[in-house]
Structures are given as C-alpha cells and as structure tokens.
Symmetry: none
Subunit: 230 residues, 2 copies
C-alpha cells in the first residue's frame, strides 16, 4: 500500500558489499531499493520497474557506466529518472563525459553515506517532488505526496491515479501554463502514444473531482496554450 508510494532507487555496482551498504542505508532513509550488479542487469531491472533515481557506478564489467547511462536516457521508461554517476576518479574529463551522456549529478568516491542520501533526496525533489513525499499547496488545495491524498478546504477528495499525477504536475508550479504536450510528457511519460485531447478529458475529470464539495474551478484554461492552476 504505502510501499508503492515510496520513491524507488536503483543501485548499480559490481561490488556486492557496496550494494548491500547503500541498499541498507537508503532503505533506512525511506526508499525502496533495487540493485543490479552489471549494466545489462541494470537495464533489465530499470525497464521492468522504472526507478525515480539511479545510482550508477562508473566502473562496471562488460558495459561501462557511461554506456548504461546513455541507454537509460534513450528509453522511454527510464528517461525521466535522475541518474547520479558514482566515480572513484576525480578527473574533470570524466565528469564532463558523464554529464554529456545525460547524467543529472555526479558524486566522487570517497563520500559519506549522509552525503549520498542527501544527493539522492535533492535529485528526487527536483525530478519528482510528489514522489519525494512533499506536500504541495495551491490556494485551498493540498496535495500530500507521501500519503497520496488530496484535500480542498480540509475536505478529502478522491482522485484516480492519472488525475493525481496530473494535479501533482500542475501544482509543482502553481500559475505556470502547461502545454498539453508538456503534460503528456510529465504525467503519461514520453513517447506514449496518447491523443493530446486525452489531457482535456482528464482535466475535466480533475475539475469535477476538485469541485465535488463546491468551490470555484481552480484550473485555468488558456486558450491556445494549455492549463494552469492557481
């Protein structure tokens, strides 16, 4: 139940001891953790159950971390995950190459566990504020990312999964006008073949849910542009 809500971190490292250490600490910090011992396994696992954050060791047997990162960023299921490259070297060249392939952050060994967890949190908050369990507010609407609950004026509301994610996206930046394409990217995932009008329908359902106990429509339609909240 509340287990599926927790952010999912994938740890990719060829040393079992390292995997165990990170896994333990990350779980203690409230994340679900998957592990993989090499690049191929990492790709399989990541596609199977797409993580929110991926800790990727630079040195991997067979397939290099850099290549894994490239492939992760090329797949629809894993593209929006935050990738943190972990490296034993500190050369600037590697750093540059790591970021070039699309890594979102970079951490150099040796590091403290606290620092690592902090980095994971920071990236998570950036990529998935709702999944990070933050509480968002816009006007009289409150969205609890941890409990997956939405309330208006104290009244709890019932939303479907898609409506919840849609509202989450809108509330990440109250006032910002999202195009339908941007919302499809954010809520449905990239290159999912879904008609852009589907957004309209779900906005309609979301509106109905938000106004179930009365109150004005909090969602603003901007003709020719998209939708915004607040």
């Amino acid at each position: 139940m509340s287990d599926t809500d927790k952010p999912l971190v994938l740890v990719v490292d060829d040393e079992a001891a390292q995997r165990a250490l990170l896994s333990y600490n990350l779980q203690a910090a409230g994340f679900r953790v998957l592990t993989a011992g090499d690049g191929e396994e990492a790709l399989l696992v990541a596609v199977e159950s797409p993580p929110d954050v991926i800790l990727l060791d630079w040195m991997l047997p067979r397939v290099s971390g850099i290549e894994v990162c490239r492939q992760l960023k090329a797949r629809a299921e894993t593209r929006q995950a935050a990738v943190i490259m972990v490296s034993a070297r500190s050369e600037e060249g590697d750093r540059v190459r790591g970021l070039e392939t699309g890594a979102d952050d970079y951490i150099v060994k040796p590091y403290s566990v606290n620092e690592l967890v902090a980095r994971v949190r920071a990236n998570l908050r950036r990529v998935r504020p709702v999944a990070a369990g933050q509480v968002l507010k816009a006007g009289d609407i409150t969205l609890d990312g941890e409990r997956h609950k939405v309330s208006r004026d104290g009244q709890d509301l019932h939303l479907g999964p898609t409506e919840f994610r849609l509202l989450g996206a809108l509330m990440e930046r109250p006032g910002k006008v999202w195009t339908r394409e941007a919302l499809l990217d954010r809520v449905w995932g990239r290159d999912i073949h879904v008609d852009t009008r589907t957004v309209d329908v779900h906005i309609g359902r979301l509106r109905k849910a938000l106004c179930a106990h009365g109150g004005a429509d909090p969602i603003r339609t901007v003709r020719g542009a998209g939708y915004a909240i607040g």
Copy 2:
C-alpha cells in the same frame, strides 16, 4: 499552436554524431531543433525557417563558421537570432574574432551538455523573452510569459492568443516601431497569407483590452510606419 511557441534552435556541425547528440538533448530540453551539416545548408535552412538560436561550429567544410556567422547577421530574416560559436580551440584570438563578426556568445569544447543547454537558454532569454517564460514590463503593463498573464496597474486583463503574442512582440522592444509586415512575421509566422490590415484590427482589440480598466492608450501609431509601445 503551442508548437510554434517552442523556441527553434539550429545546430550547425559537420559531424553527424555531434548533431545527433545535441539535437537529442536540446529536444529533451523542450526546443524544436533543425540541423545543418555545412555552412551553405545552414544559410538555406536559416532563411527558410528562421531560428531563435544558432549553434555554429567553428570548423566547417568549405565555408568557415565565421563567414557563415557574418552572412547570417547580414540577412534580415536571421539577424535577430542569437549565434553561439562552438570552437575546439581555446585561443583568445579566435574568441575575439568570433565575437567581432557578430556572434553573441562563445563556447569552447569540451563542454557539458548541461552547460550548453544553459547557454542556449540564457541567449534565448535575450532574444525571445516571452517564449522563455520571462516577465516583461513596459510602463504600468506587465506581461508574464510563463503564466500567460497580462496585467495593468495590478489589474488582470484578458487577451486572446493572438493579442497576447502581439503584445509580447511589442514589449520585447519597448519603443521600437514595428512595421505591419514585421509583426506578421513575428506574431502570425511567416508563410501565413494574412492581410496586413489584420494587424490594425488586432492592435485595436489589444488597445481595447489594455484600456478596459481605464488609462491612456499605451500603443503609439506611427503613421506610414507601424506601431510601438512605451
């Protein structure tokens, strides 16, 4: 629709791999991307559909990047685009020569994709503030590109999509007198066949909207030339 709103970036590089990498990352960052493999192609493409930002490799076959830049800055269609020169060398001399020919920015290989995207964004803010989500002010009028909101003296105003874009164009350069043709290019998009008088009508509607809550007409008509704001 919202597609026309997205900023357009032209990538000029003779290496296909480089073009693909940049293209992918820029698209992921929300830009539309065109590519060209040499200087001649770049000029053709740029005139055909004028980009907002041009990434121009220094080393190009046949025509040098510096020459392409000069020609781009000499043409009306591409003059207002931001040109970012990309160079493998780091000599100060080249940098100076690059900026002398009219390049707006300069980036040296190797660079991280994040850095590059940041540079593109920065230049875009200068060239296309509204699409970049900037907030523009002219007198007592405020236009918020991200929220698609216009207010005067604190009062929110309601504008149609075309009026919004029209006001955006005018406010990007307060005081500048725009010809009707220039506004048609900018607001309606080129290769749209629309009567130039249509501009007048929309200026009229815009005026009405801007003065809905009182205040003087902020738009100045320059007889025989066009319109300006501020």
